[in-house]
């Protein structure tokens, strides 16, 4: 997908101005945190589970090479193949070559954010393979020719009217005046349309939530069952995934599965949890003829051993998005690439460079909510600050930077600072008079654009205190 992280500020201004987006974000931003709170409240050991989840991922990352090789060995042992991809281009080629060999014309897809990362849909389409998204939300955004705006809810940014509009426009063989003003009716129509696509597909592409080293299995969580139909019906099942998804054992997967849906949607467990191990065996009644895992790096191994390694613990639950007041103000598209919210603010600069994505780690108040809900305790604000440190070391002069340097210069010189604070306090207090505030003030446009600036009382504390102490003696 096209990267627009550089235009983050413009994106956010436009997003904030959209009434439908505001409505969509408000609804989901109220519901999802409430669901999570409810689910977490019912599980007394949730906090202890977070520590366990973190420990599992930390251990795996410390021995990533070992577990990836174990995983590969066990995929092969169960009759599948692993395709290592250093970057997006290699991953796309790996998928295409399988499609070509099988003469595939259509590929059904279960929701996979990694395929968005590598721009797989456009690439397949340009090479004669029609990708069909089968997650309902993802299907709608595909109909609208836009990328998903959220890790687990691709149509997070849409209200139901927009969903109806997309269906009426796309499903032209159905009566144009049919009743659609009901979530269930809409879902049924989507399902009916997709059913034929499932049956016709040559290849099924999914992502993976976990790769289980000891069994060579991949696991996905879904609520619609589309993942199962995507991967069991076609000639080949291709799992497009990334290296940090590997975990050692099935038992570890179970621990993480107790964290993931609760953190994501507030469910104790998702409707479906599907494990895939190899292609169909002789005695199996169904299953794909071939099983492929495209294992993508795309910058992740370079994060190992850096201050950003902890980000690789992420299990893509989206809790940090759902609780982030910045994300809930601007939506996912404003972030300008695949990953958004606090996890995107840390991961995106790692994957596409901080020169391009520098706004993202800056656009945070460091309120800390994200870290407090993260199921694997990723210190997101801390890592955003690390990005700011890297930027600071390289960035060129700006008015903001100059102002900050001047302030730091003064703050290291208490005498001068004292004098300046008293002067500013008196001057501004005087200027404001009895109004108590400024509606505009030179150099304070960022503040006064949407708020008044409260005026100082008129004297600095330190000078008043000094006077009081002198009077006492």
């Amino acid at each position: 997908m096209e990267i627009s992280t550089q235009r983050f500020k413009k994106n956010t201004t436009e997003a904030i101005a959209s009434p439908t987006l505001r409505q969509a974000l408000k609804q989901a931003g109220t519901d999802l945190p409430a669901h999570r709170r409810n689910a977490v409240g019912k599980l007394p050991e949730f906090e202890a589970l977070r520590d366990e989840g973190k420990a599992i991922k930390d251990h795996t990352l410390a021995h990533l090479d070992f577990y990836l090789e174990t995983f590969e060995r066990n995929v092969i042992a169960s009759g599948g193949q692993v395709h290592w991809a250093r970057n997006a281009a290699e991953a796309r080629e790996a998928v295409l070559s399988i499609c070509k060999r099988l003469g595939a014309r259509t590929a059904t897809k279960g929701k996979s954010i990694v395929t968005e990362e590598i721009g797989l849909n456009d690439f397949l389409e340009a090479n004669g393979v029609v990708p069909v998204e089968t997650d309902m939300g993802e299907y709608i955004v595909q109909l609208r020719h836009e990328p998903p705006s959220h890790l687990i809810a691709p149509a997070f940014h849409l209200v139901r009217d927009q969903w109806v509009e997309a269906f009426r426009k796309a499903h032209t063989d159905l009566p144009p005046d049919r009743y659609l003003d009901d979530r269930r009716v809409l879902a049924d129509e989507g399902r009916a349309v997709l059913r034929d696509k499932f049956l016709a597909a040559d290849v099924g592409i999914t992502g993976a939530n976990f790769l289980i080293a000891e069994t060579g299995s991949t696991a996905i969580v879904t609520n619609e069952g589309n993942g199962d139909l995507t991967q069991t019906l076609p000639k080949a099942h291709i799992v497009v995934t990334t290296i940090e998804k590997v975990v050692p054992t099935l038992e570890d997967t179970m621990t993480l599965l107790r964290l993931l849906p609760r953190s994501a949607t507030g469910q104790e467990i998702s409707t479906y949890v599907t494990f895939s191990t190899g292609p169909r065996r002789a005695a199996d009644r169904d299953g794909p003829g071939e099983f492929h895992v495209v294992l993508l790096d795309n910058g992740r191994s370079a994060m190992i051993g850096t201050e950003f390694q902890d980000m690789l613990r992420c299990i893509r639950c989206s809790a940090c998005l759902n609780h982030c007041p910045v994300f809930l103000s601007v939506g996912g598209h404003a972030y300008g690439w695949v990953y958004s919210g606090p996890m995107g603010a840390v991961l995106t600069p790692s994957l596409i460079g901080v020169d391009t994505a520098g706004h993202l780690p800056n656009a945070s108040t460091f309120c800390g909510k994200c870290e407090s809900v993260c199921p694997v305790k990723i210190p997101l604000p801390k890592m955003m600050r690390h990005w700011r440190e890297r930027e600071w070391q390289r960035a060129s002069a700006s008015r903001y930077r100059l102002g900050l340097k001047l302030w730091a210069y003064l703050a290291k010189r208490p005498g001068l600072y004292r004098w300046g604070a008293e002067l500013a306090s008196r001057f501004l207090g005087n200027q404001a008079g009895s109004r108590g505030k400024f509606r505009t003030l030179p150099l304070a446009g960022g503040w006064t654009k949407g708020r008044d600036l409260p005026a100082p009382e008129g004297r600095s504390f330190m000078s008043l205190w000094a006077e009081q102490q002198r009077a006492k003696r």
Binding site: S329, N362, S364, T365, C367, R390, D452, G458, L464
Partner: protein
């Protein structure tokens, strides 16, 4: 330690510059709680603007100054969860590559508190002798809440204020959109967040908004004022110390006196 704990008051730059009454309210409350209060005159700022902008070198210089000035006190207390959190949680992180300073930062950090939580948790204060006529709602500032666990302490003391009624603010734990330099770098997002907050504040029907951090307070007061919502905004210490007659509410007219 003498019978009376010696407290070094970290005034904070916003209180120093904008709202000295909060500093005097803090001194008054600390003295009433049985502390000896001193104010090191060479203090300036905790360094958070530099730290959060990625300017680690300046942040470390400023942190070292604060440690030099304050480490000899029994306690360091600030009328701000944000600045106290900076000193307590983040100073040690700044000196991970400097064991000696790291050790000093950790030792001082453990004795550093936000004002109201210090009064309740350390000094055992359970009530204040103050009056306030009004319906109060309280916003939990992020750093105080999530870094220092400041939540029940201000509510406990506010409930003892005669004449005051406390109503809970829905979404009290959601960030107000201030975020230090964030509010100037991303004004549109910041104002959107603040507008959500002021809508919640208005919905409570409270006539007074309190919080424990000047940054958040100036932000919310500035937006309420721009929207023409007549809510009185004050630092919680002003009400707890019974000093609301000393100064008009934040961003309200007649603030020039004090």
């Amino acid at each position: 330690m003498s019978a009376k704990p010696r407290v070094g008051l970290f005034v904070t730059c916003l209180v120093d510059l904008f709202r000295p009454t909060v500093g005097f309210a803090a001194v008054s409350l600390l003295e009433r709680a049985g502390c000896t209060v001193e104010v090191p005159m060479a203090q300036t700022c905790c360094g958070q603007p530099a730290y959060n902008s990625g300017d680690k070198a300046d942040a470390k210089d400023l942190a070292r100054r604060v440690i030099d000035l304050f480490e000899s006190f029994d306690y360091v207390v600030a009328p701000s969860g944000s600045c106290a959190g900076m000193i307590r949680e983040h100073y040690p992180r700044l000196f991970e590559d400097d064991p000696a300073t790291h050790h000093r930062a950790e030792r001082m950090g453990k004795r550093t508190y936000e004002l109201v939580s210090f009064l309740v948790d350390v000094m055992g204060m359970g009530a204040v002798d103050a009056d306030y006529a009004g319906t109060i709602t309280y916003h939990d500032s992020c750093s105080g809440l999530r870094e220092l666990g400041v939540k029940e302490q201000p509510r406990k003391l506010l409930k003892s204020v005669k004449g005051a009624k406390l109503v809970e603010l829905p979404g009290a734990e959601v960030c107000c959109g201030f975020g230090g330099t964030f509010c100037i770098k991303y004004p549109d997002i910041s104002v959107k967040m603040t507008s959500d907050k002021t809508a919640d504040i208005a919905a409570t029907g409270a006539d007074t908004l309190l919080a424990g951090d000047m940054g958040c307070l100036m932000n919310m007061a500035g937006r309420l004022s721009r929207e023409g919502k007549p809510v009185r905004v004050r630092h919680v210490a002003e009400v707890l110390a019974g000093m609301t007659d000393a100064v008009a509410p934040i961003a309200a007219s007649d603030a020039g006196k004090g």
